[in-house]
Amino acid sequence: MDNSIYLFAAFSITWTVIFLYIFRLFRSQKALNSQINEIKKTLQENIEMKERHS
């Protein structure tokens, strides 16, 4: 009885689930990095605006 196909399915699905979750974490990390850049940009604009009005 060759059950290799079941073994292959079990391992492939397990690794797919783990990689999809890690990919989701990676995407969240990327989104947070772009938010940090946005904050930096806004801060820079605020500093420049303050300097112009002082």
Partner: protein, 238 residues
């Protein structure tokens, strides 16, 4: 902080090496079981995944108690992230189990006590995640902590289900130890250590991500207040 960051990269590399060692142990070192054949090798991912799902829910249980006792949002974050990681590992258990059952029991699913209690466990913690998304922010942490404590009741029920009720699910850990040959035991140990590293790697990443998200939200709120203040100053200046 710097020391943690320095240790983080070797930890991740070690996880990677251990996962490769685990795959080698499963496919080249562990012998093929006589009755079930190669399909028995699913055991090496099914059992560690189940144990780590229980561990994740235990972390949630402890973190929920600590949150209710200390009211520190850090414990709420730990509880939430542990549930998410636990659900991932519980999903792996629920997928690999039926794939193993089909050629051995000739059915994908049966309402056996262990299978049923594991499914209930999975639904319980999926409900936890759904609850967090649906309640207001000021109630979220308290309600989640209560849910995290009550939901843990399912874990011992699931673990002892094969001892409490008549079941077709095999009992691996008995009072006489683990009922396997030593190459199988060693392979299980290697896989178990590798999965533990993977689990903590994913869990720590998730916690760090959540903490960063919270910090950004705090900064955004402060910046909104600063912008209002600055606008008021400018209006006064005009």
């Amino acid at each position: 902080m710097k020391r943690t960051q320095t240790l983080w990269i070797p930890f991740q590399l070690l996880t990677y090496v251990l996962m490769l060692a685990a795959l080698y142990a499963i496919f080249f070192f562990a012998p093929v079981e006589k009755t079930m054949g190669v399909i028995q090798k699913i055991f090496y991912i099914h059992v560690p995944a189940a144990f780590l799902a229980y561990l994740a829910f235990f972390i949630t249980f402890m973190a929920s108690i600590l949150y209710l006792y200390r009211k520190d949002s850090k414990w709420d974050t730990v509880a939430h992230c542990a549930v998410e990681t636990g659900v991932i590992f519980c999903t792996i258990v629920l997928i690999t189990g039926p794939i193993w059952a089909k050629p051995v029991w000739n059915v994908w699913w049966t309402w056996d006590p262990r299978l049923t209690t594991t499914l209930i466990l999975w639904f319980t913690y999926v409900a936890y995640l759904m609850l967090r998304r649906s309640v207001k922010e000021n109630q979220r942490a308290n309600l989640s902590a209560v849910f995290g404590i009550i939901g843990f009741i399912n874990v011992p029920i699931t673990f002892f289900s094969i001892r409490l009720w008549r079941t077709i699910h095999p009992v691996i850990i008995t009072s006489r130890g683990i009922n396997m040959s030593w190459p199988m035991k060693l392979s299980l140990l290697i896989t178990f250590i590798a999965f533990c590293f993977l689990f903590f790697s994913v869990l720590i990443s998730r916690i760090r991500l959540e903490q960063l998200k919270m910090r950004i939200e705090e900064i955004n709120d402060t910046m909104d207040d600063m912008n209002i203040g600055l606008a008021q100053k400018l209006v006064k200046g005009i």
